[in-house]
């Protein structure tokens, strides 16, 4: 059960020929896959293509009707290996992941796939997580396309182009026997718009129409075939691709009246180019431009004939590609020099080498380019200085003042997150045992590396925390500590981490955070998910387990772990004791602590309707939330420093003498109890209270409550009278 449900939206996937399809880029791609007659789809979730997996997951009945096979792959490597189905058979298939991290994980299978070549169209939809809003290191998928000889599509970011390029991409893949990267940028994934739908096409082969098993030994990546495959890439597949791209006009030429100059842009940046030209008075909102544009919807390979055709007669062209190295610019230079075309090529000499080409960056770059162009002057509405001034209308002093007072808003753990008490426990334990070196991992728990926890030293990749502690463990003053999520454990952690550690006699501590889902990517299901979740703190803990449940514990034992404990994260004292004993144990071997607590976002989504329904049907329900007594709170905010829960905030101090705000629990509190437990465990203060509101009280509740209120009311009245005397 993912964070966002597409159950309503996926109905649009049934749109027939000629219907106007309105929606998000991700949904349009799914529709395009169905229109292309894919036989199988798979992938691994991660921003910005998490929703593509969610859409596919929610569209299973439509996929089923068509006979499309879907798998939520165990990792990107699993997904890439799926594509081998297209090597022998004319099956179209697509997989998706976050890039470049996912591409790195998948690289072995991808290289072999690219070497063997494909018969059916094979497409990898990569969410290029680059620029603002990205959550990973900044690299380009382009490099992989070049070294493995896979074609890279980078369509213009409007839904019509996005959909067309999926369909054309499969054709290109089949025409050139080469797998394709289809690149979607972050904003392109989430862009909304419209396109005219076509009918869905059932795959030629499926469970309804099976293939006949068939062997082509020359497509196996063993000698001597690998040498032939390498020759084939250059001698046959590349020329075939170039021909197809030219014939089908996948790249676009837009004429403009200033023929002495031109702009060569990747499709993904086209809209930003038009906007910059529009603001300079050189284009209109419908894309008619005074400057000729050559738009690379296929970013790799470059098409020499097209480039020469575009550049001949031009004095200067500007090449626009985000990130580094400047592969396209180098390619353009090589092609033009080989053909002895003397057009001056501008690129990263006037554009930034690193980072996104945002609206401002593009406007600055294009302005600099047009100003540098020789020949007939091109009138500009804004010169470089005016463009530069747009970036910061705010004076330097005001910026400084603003920056010093605006609070940063780093991503953090959600209200009630089960990981919070774990990190509170580790922080308390650290105060006791001395500073820790912690190998962290990818997942929501990565946020513990930031304030207020500040726990964690390195992040090496998904499921790689335990592996990354293996080189440092012999020099640490404490047993090595690695923290891994359940998502990372199943993705890579079991084999790269646990198995290898046990084999090498690693005697450190591995904490596996089991929240039931792949939470950071949007709450997708994982193998160890119990449905409904069988977790110590859950209301409905006696519900049956999911069929074919794959428990983390069994997996660890199977890999040879002897010392293994499972603790609820919300039990801070027990967690501290368990971690302490793992860190001080004389027993050799890896110590694994499974820290259990269901992802609170998912849990709330599951439990809230249940509670609501119970209350409205008249059942007695106790709903808990927390409260901080503003009269006993002294405003030290130690409770916030140890927890950082979003519902734990501050408000004005009711005491007229005190100046510092008091801590305060706002209405978003879900009653997880961590702040109270922390108050106990860290001996903070007597200000925390859990308040249970009794909905639909029974007769006994009412009698007891009435009696208590009467007696306490009488005592209160006596106090009031006394207080009146003790006044001024």
């Amino acid at each position: 059960m993912a964070e966002r449900s597409f159950v309503e939206e996926v109905k649009k996937l049934r749109s027939a020929q000629g219907e106007l399809f309105k929606g998000e880029g991700i949904l349009a791609i799914t529709k395009a896959l169905l229109q292309s007659g894919v036989s199988y789809v798979g992938g691994y979730q991660g921003s910005p293509i998490s929703h593509l997996m969610d859409v596919l997951n929610d569209a299973q009945d439509i996929l089923g009707e068509l006979g499309v096979h879907f798998e939520a792959s165990g990792s990107e490597a699993t997904a890439a290996a799926m594509l081998s189905a297209s090597i022998n058979y004319p099956l179209r298939g697509a997989v998706t992941w976050k890039s470049t991290v996912g591409t790195n994980v998948a690289s072995d299978a991808l290289s072999n796939l690219a070497s063997a070549g494909v018969t059916g169209g094979a497409m990898v939809i990569v969410g290029e997580d680059y620029g603002e809003g990205s959550s990973i290191m900044q690299e380009r998928s382009y490099a992989f396309a070049m070294k493995a000889q896979m074609w890279l599509l980078d369509p213009r970011p409007n839904l019509t182009s996005i959909v067309d390029m999926v369909e054309k991409g499969f054709e290109l893949s089949e025409a050139s026997n080469t797998p394709i990267f289809y690149m979607m940028r972050i904003r392109g994934c989430h862009v909304t718009g419209e396109f005219e739908a076509r009918d869905n096409v059932p795959p030629a082969y499926s469970n309804k129409a099976p293939v006949s098993p068939y062997r082509e030994p020359e497509k196996i990546i063993l000698p001597p075939f690998v040498y032939a495959q390498e020759r084939e890439k250059i001698a046959e597949r590349l020329p075939a691709a170039i021909n197809f791209i030219k014939q089908q006009k996948l790249n676009e030429f837009f004429a403009g009246r200033y023929e002495q100059v031109g702009i060569i842009t990747c499709g993904g940046s086209y809209n930003t180019v038009i906007r910059a030209l529009e603001r300079q008075g050189l284009a209109d909102v419908y894309g008619n431009s005074d400057i000729p544009i050559y738009c690379l919807n296929v970013a790799y390979p470059l098409i020499p004939d097209e480039l020469v055709e575009f550049c001949v007669g031009k004095q200067q062209v500007l090449v626009l590609e985000e990130g580094q190295p400047e592969y396209i610019e180098q390619g353009v230079q090589t092609i033009l020099r080989r053909q002895d075309v003397q057009t001056r090529v501008f690129g990263k000499d006037i554009m930034p080498m690193a980072g996104e080409y945002t609206g401002q960056v593009m406007l600055e770059g294009i302005t600099r380019f047009l100003e540098a162009c020789s020949g007939a002057a091109i009138p500009l509405q804004l010169d470089s200085d005016a463009v530069k001034a747009l970036e910061t209308p705010v004076s330097e002093e005001d910026i400084a003042e603003l920056m010093s007072s605006l609070p940063p808003r780093p991503a953090g753990l959600c209200t009630g997150c089960p990981e919070r008490p774990l990190f509170s426990a580790i922080k308390q334990l650290q105060a006791e045992l001395g500073p820790f070196h912690i190998s962290s991992d990818i997942g929501c728990h990565s946020f513990a590396t930031a304030a207020p926890f500040n726990l964690g030293n390195t992040i090496m990749g998904y499921g790689l925390s335990l592996a990354s502690s293996s080189g440092v463990r012999h020099t640490l003053p404490h047993k090595a500590i690695s923290i891994m999520g359940d998502g990372g454990f199943w993705h890579n952690g079991l084999s790269s981490g646990v198995t290898s550690a046990v084999f090498n006699g690693h005697d450190g501590l591995l904490i596996i955070i089991d929240n039931g889902y792949s939470a950071a990517t949007g709450g997708q299901d994982i193998p160890s998910l119990v449905e409904p979740n069988l977790i110590a703190t859950t209301l409905d803990a006696d519900r049956p387990k999911r069929d074919q449940w794959q428990p983390i514990e069994d997996a660890c034992r199977g890999a040879g772990v002897k010392w293994l404990r499972t603790v609820s994260t919300y039990n801070i004292e027990a967690m501290k004791d368990t971690l302490r004993s793992a860190l001080t144990s004389a027993e050799p071997g890896l110590k694994v602590v499974i820290a259990e607590g269901e992802c609170m976002l998912n849990r709330q989504r599951r439990v809230k309707p249940m509670i609501k329904q119970a209350i409205s049907s008249g059942k007695r329900v106790e709903k808990a939330r927390f409260y901080i007594d503003p009269e006993t709170c002294t405003g030290d905010h130690g409770c916030i420093r140890i927890s950082g829960c979003p519902s734990l905030t501050i408000k004005e101090n009711p005491d007229p003498l005190r100046l510092d705000p008091v801590s305060h629990v706002d209405n978003s509190c879900v009653g997880c109890g961590v702040c109270g437990t922390n108050a106990h465990s860290a001996v903070l203060c007597p200000s925390f209270a859990r308040v249970n509101v009794v909905h639909n009280p029974t007769a006994l509740d009412r009698v007891l409550d009435g009696f208590r209120r009467r007696v306490r009311g009488w005592l209160r009245n006596r106090d009031r009278q006394r207080l009146e005397r003790y006044s001024l």
Binding site: L282, D284, D398, A411, L413, A520, L657, V693, R712
Partner: protein, 496 residues
Amino acid sequence: MSQGGQTLNLLIAALGGEGGGVLTNWLIEIADRSGWHCQSTSLAGVAQRTGATIYYLEFMERIAGKSQPVMSLFPAQGDIDVALTSEIAEAGRMVSRGFISPDKTTLISSDHRVFGITEKTHTGDGTADRDLILSMSGRYAKRFVHFDMAEMVKRHGTVISAGMLGAVAGAGVLPFSREAFEQALANGKGAAANLSAFSEAFDCAANGGVGVVNPGASAEGPAFVLPQPTTAIGEELLPRIEVLPPAVHEVTFQGVLKLVEYQDAAYAKTYLGHVEQFVAMDSEASGFQLTREGARWLALWMAFEDIPRVAQLKLRPTRDEMLRQEIGVTEAEPLKVSEYFHPRVEEVASLLPRRLGGALLKSSLWRKAVNNTLGARQLRTDTIAVTLALRFLASLRHVRRHMLGFHHEWRMINAWLDAILTAGDPVLARELVECGRMVKGYGSTRHRTTTRLMRIVDGVKSSEIVSAETVSQLRSAAMQGEEEEPFQAALTALSH
């Protein structure tokens, strides 16, 4: 070439979980219904986990026979017509990022605060300067419409996205009819609450919001006037306050009020005696700042939170009412209130007579025994048994003067007072007074804060610390939280 008009560009900055996505979908639907193209993009990433998130929309009228317009996916500086922000610091952030252009952008914002983690974790008051952000936003926006949408939507029982939609509609910056907006809400979940919040926000924005930024105006109310005495204690003590400089009347009055309730009239008289000492060393020229702040921190310290005090606070007659109001439940529903207490042996010892308490703390056997019987517990303060127990504990205040805790606190208070009164340099004295702010918390927190304060006081006494600036530096180092390092580093710097 500039035919065919331009897009209308709108930026939304919201915090994770505030419904920025829902708001965007409403706007797409409204544009569609009104015959306009709308393209939106967003940066989700990890922003949904409490971070700030940005949505960007472009609108363009549909013209028959024209192709689809080419719209940008990036908000660009100098190209934003409307910026809609859900919180005032986010409005400030948009200003700082250059998205608010003085000749172009209408900025519409809720002006309430949602505090960031760095503001919340401060040991004192680390909150941003709201007035500064308001005045900056007013200065750099072409038009600035702002009001407290959070408070407004809460009254209507809905979330801020509905209020933001009302504000952007009421501001008249989008070419869509009010009906188109309302229809989008009427089709969705929670329509009734959303529509009523929309309507109020619409009217508020249509009238310019509160709209007027006047940072010069003072936020302070009318000057404080000492009330007439209503009790015998008042008759005795109020005249002593009255003869003090008017600038310190309010603080001293509140201090006396607190201490009379805390202990008795005699205790308040002790307090007044010290305040008078402050006045004697203070001056009109400085606005009696030293006295005012000294009176503040002294009153708070003298009302230190021992077990009887906590019990007394938990029994306050107004408490149940306050709690119900904050939780938002009616009188009818029964509440179960479990409070978290964790008395340690130190707190128990502080209740005992000096010698006995000291002996208890010295005996590891007794310490262990007491700690084992106490420890962390949750007490149901809504029950009669616990109420009676708390009343007993509160009544112990009558013998407070004989307790170890009282003696311990007063040793520290006297040391602090002595350092102030003998400081000589008025600036140094003022800084020492300010150190009273450090005294906070319970248990180990309290031990930490007072120990650091005493370290500063001792330093001044022994002339290790001589300048006001050093005291100020040490104080801010000491107020950086649990870690010992910053304060120790500041102390080390002292000896070099």
